[in-house]
Symmetry: C2
Amino acid sequence: MSRLPAIDPEYPDQAELIVRRFSQFADLAPDETELLRNLSETPERLAAGTELIGQGERLEHPRLLLAGWACRQRYLSDGRRQIFDFILPGDVYGLCLRPQAVALCSAVTLTRATISNAAALGEAVLTHPDSYPGLTTATLMSASTDEGYLLNQMVRIGRQTAYERVAHFILEIHYRLRVVGLASENWLPLPLTQEIIADALGLSIVHLNRTLQQLRRDGLVEVKGGTARLLDVSQLRNIADFHVPHVSARRLENGGARIHLAASA
Amino acid sequence: MSRLPAIDPEYPDQAELIVRRFSQFADLAPDETELLRNLSETPERLAAGTELIGQGERLEHPRLLLAGWACRQRYLSDGRRQIFDFILPGDVYGLCLRPQAVALCSAVTLTRATISNAAALGEAVLTHPDSYPGLTTATLMSASTDEGYLLNQMVRIGRQTAYERVAHFILEIHYRLRVVGLASENWLPLPLTQEIIADALGLSIVHLNRTLQQLRRDGLVEVKGGTARLLDVSQLRNIADFHVPHVSARRLENGGARIHLAASA
DNA sequence: CGTGCACTTGATAGAACTCAAGACAGGTGG
DNA sequence: CCACCTGTCTTGAGTTCTATCAAGTGCACG
């Protein structure tokens, strides 16, 4: 909850994450990029397990996740939990086009996290869209791809086997992290307990554990110590039936957004 | 595909469905109600299995489903299908706040259906929101509850047993149909094959069949001949952990929207 | 009267869950 | 510095749930 300098030494270019991510969706004017960078001026550090929004609460203003991971989730009354999606560094959450909007599920940090107020982005897009065409397009495209990830998640848990689910999930997270430069070609941070992954993929902890071991034995993925190493991406894609989201595919492949790994994250 | 008179004898008050549904979200001015009724002026009849939107296609203009059922779905490359949600009579689909939006999955009719162009609604809400405050609110709330249904669906397939899933699913459909007056207290039309329900709930056809039988034997639900009869709603709710969406709960319970069964549907 | 589609049933295999216990941290306090 | 937690991960055994295969019924339709 304490104030920190805008630049967190642990993540030297937190402010760049959202710039990179939004750049894949639209060409941003200098003032738009500037606005995005300024979003990280009000960092606030939160412990793991902090509730960002409770189900049914009003969405006051959008926020930007600068560092750490969070998720959106819901509990059944007997304690079973379903995680809907993950909020990664550089993601905006709580940005809703409807005024008076209410959260349909709760959002919670999964690791220590740094967030900041992104009201300026909401303001720009909702009330002056014509002055910020690039930002507006990027914001809408971003929301759209997020919705696409939600559908991916549904296909995983509804129609894929445990083995396929895990493969698909890791590829998706890998892709999302690469876009913002937090993952390399075959490595990514994965600071989630097996319980969390299991609750996202609709599996029991034990079964997830065994599935991960199987993937390791098959020489596909190695998940260890909060990171994952992809040992055979193309075979993983075959198994998981994974496809890169089209909205951003072209730009990425053309190198429109240059991917580079952040120094220490 | 042929033109029909605006009032389909089979559904004498198709135009009222969306009025009833939107009325639960906001108080509508007479001209707003009028606009909604006029949406059904351009009916178009489609056969079952017609693709309304293909994945990746641009969303041209919103459409209103006047009669029949449709769904949004996606296939895996080996033919497995996941149905995300159902589009019921009185529902609008393809209404997207982002220009240039692209469909994230395909939408297909499941029965014979009648649709009509709802561009006027999109126009009203997107370009003259201040002139149509009730409509705007209702449209946004409607989109919001639909998103809530998507999350319900995810909890079902991710964390509930087959038995619970079916119970929850039927309660949800029942609730949605009641809002527009197409279901009575313990009866609803359910013009879906078991294959379709199975693909929505992430189950095999055979297992769905047996689960339905179990629910029947337990005196909870009877699904037969394209309809379902709820034999014990309160126990069903316990089993399924079903809750009425809050956005509309208060109005419904106050009788704000009077529910009555359409004559022949 | 066949034909096709949806539904049903039985038998069997496989996937995933639960229970229970042990191993292996990382952190704390003595 | 070490013993002791606690939380996470791992493993084994057994059970339950769900899928698959295969065959049959029933009904609507041409």
